[in-house]
Amino acid sequence: MFRNQYDTDVTTWSPAGRLFQVEYAMEAVKQGSAAIGLRSKTHVVLACVNKASSELSSHQKKIFKVDDHIGVAISGLTADGRVLSRYMRNECINYSYTYESQLPVGRLVVQLADKAQVCTQRSWKRPYGVGLLVGGLDESGAHLYYNCPSGNYFEYQAFAIGSRSQAAKTFLERKFDSFMEATRDNLIKDAIFALRETLQGEKMTSSVCTIAILGVGEAFHILDQETVQSLINEFEVVGEDTPTDEASAPDQAGDSDQGAATPAGQGPAPMDI
């Protein structure tokens, strides 16, 4: 995408019928670090990569609890994401207060999308530069939605956004058929594997990623570091249907009970292709 004379204003159409400012906002989403979501009939798992700007600093918070039954993972301008999370929390709590029941996630994402659309049609505003993966419950079960800066929203079985998300998407595309009926633990496992795809060779430890889950009968919560690390160890050791071997090479100083014989590399890793 290159600069042209129609991209100064969000309220200017290009002759081809495009709003370039909105498209540039979607580019901002792609620059953020990866966030992944997957869902089964009863649970939604959100996972993201923790990118710290330097070794000295801490990483930015990218997963927010919106209510007991809704959580959101963001990618892009974190500040915009925080503001939208605050809006979502407000909507949920106001609905709870008036109706004493939970705001269905399907309605929240529509409200969010309408809010984003407003910013694409006012000359004094700019689109939000953040993509949101919203996971939540409503009457028909668990849902995962993606809200983008354009004001569109889509429902997904599984999705990934941010940098190097294509690798995760490829992985998810292969496995998504099994997600609907998957157990809670298998869903987490798949999230971890998908996240690993985006790391592309970097060592996967619990400090690099954040995992959160919500489900029917399970309030939204972020898994703590220990749990995540033991899950990583468990899955890396078992080394099941993982296509990647080069990623599992790094030293796991962990508690491998089996005395782990890491399976010898069978088949090429997808990254090699």
Binding site: Y97, T98, Y99, E100, S101, P104, G106, R107, D138, E139
Partner: protein
């Protein structure tokens, strides 16, 4: 479970004068200091006392859902003026509402509820407001109006079934709200609830439920002067709302106490 202190037959309280005298004092005091203020707008024009009122509503849970009963009378003070007033109405797919108190305020509440249900339907997703949500919404409306010194002069009964769960609750004009297996408004609190406490049980069949309601309504007909003998029953189950044509209760006046009632009370008639 607080009994509703303000509610019993509001028409009787206010038109007899003692309470309204003190209200008139408050009103005069306010207008002498606040001209064209919110006080004048609220106190002056809105009913501190109701005009056309309905009397008790009785509601019970039964095996398949909820049953509500109310008579069809609209009293104008002590006159039993209107005899075809529907005080029980369906709300959306999952709930039914019954109201006692000022009829025009009930009509206003129905407008709010119809708007609410319409907005809910316009989402056109798989979600819908159930009885619990409607009950809480009404509680907020009633309480907020009370806080602004502009109450909707009603006591409401809200019942419904959603996803197999039965719900029955009540809200008063000051925002007191609770749920129970059987709720009543007005005189029903004093006359019907003792009967229900004794005779209500889980798993009443429809026929048993109606008979129980009729027993309550009959006592109310004998003893509540604002009751009229034309009752309406509404039921709601998972399948939806069931309406029935209004009918009258059979009454018996040959009790020995009604013969020669003044025996032993010299000078009365």
């Amino acid at each position: 479970m607080a009994t509703n202190l303000v509610d019993s037959t509001p028409a009787m309280n206010n038109l007899l004068g003692s309470e309204s005298d003190s209200q008139r004092t408050l009103y005069d005091f306010c207008t002498s200091h606040y001209v064209e203020s919110i006080y004048e707008r609220t106190i002056r024009f809105d009913p501190w006392y109701p005009y056309v009122t309905g009397t008790s509503v009785v509601g019970i849970k039964y095996k398949d859902g909820i049953l509500l009963a109310a008579d069809m009378g609209g009293s104008y003070g002590s006159t039993l003026r209107y005899k075809g007033v529907e005080r029980l109405k369906p709300v959306g797919k999952h709930s039914i509402i019954g109201a006692s108190g000022e009829i025009s305020d009930f009509q206003e509440i129905m407008r709010f509820l119809d708007e609410l249900i319409l907005s809910d339907n316009m989402w056109d997703d798989g979600n819908s407001l159930g009885p619990k949500e409607v009950h809480n919404y009404l509680t907020r409306v009633m309480y907020n109006r009370r806080n602004k010194f502009n109450p909707l002069w009603n006591s409401l009964v809200l019942g419904g079934v959603k996803n197999g769960q039965k719900y029955l609750g009540t809200v008063s004009m000051i925002g007191v709200h609770y749920e129970d297996n059987h709720v009543t408004t007005g005189f029903g609190n004093h006359l019907a609830r003792p009967i229900l406490r004794d005779e209500w049980h889980e798993n009443l069949t429809f026929e048993e439920g109606v008979k129980l309601l009729e027993k309550c309504m009959r006592v109310l007909l004998y003893r509540d002067r604002s009751a009229v003998n034309k009752i309406q029953i509404l039921k709601i189950t998972e399948e939806g709302v069931g309406t029935f044509p209004p009918y009258s209760l059979k009454t018996y006046w040959n009790f020995s106490a009604f013969q020669n009632p003044t025996v032993g009370a010299e000078g009365s008639w």
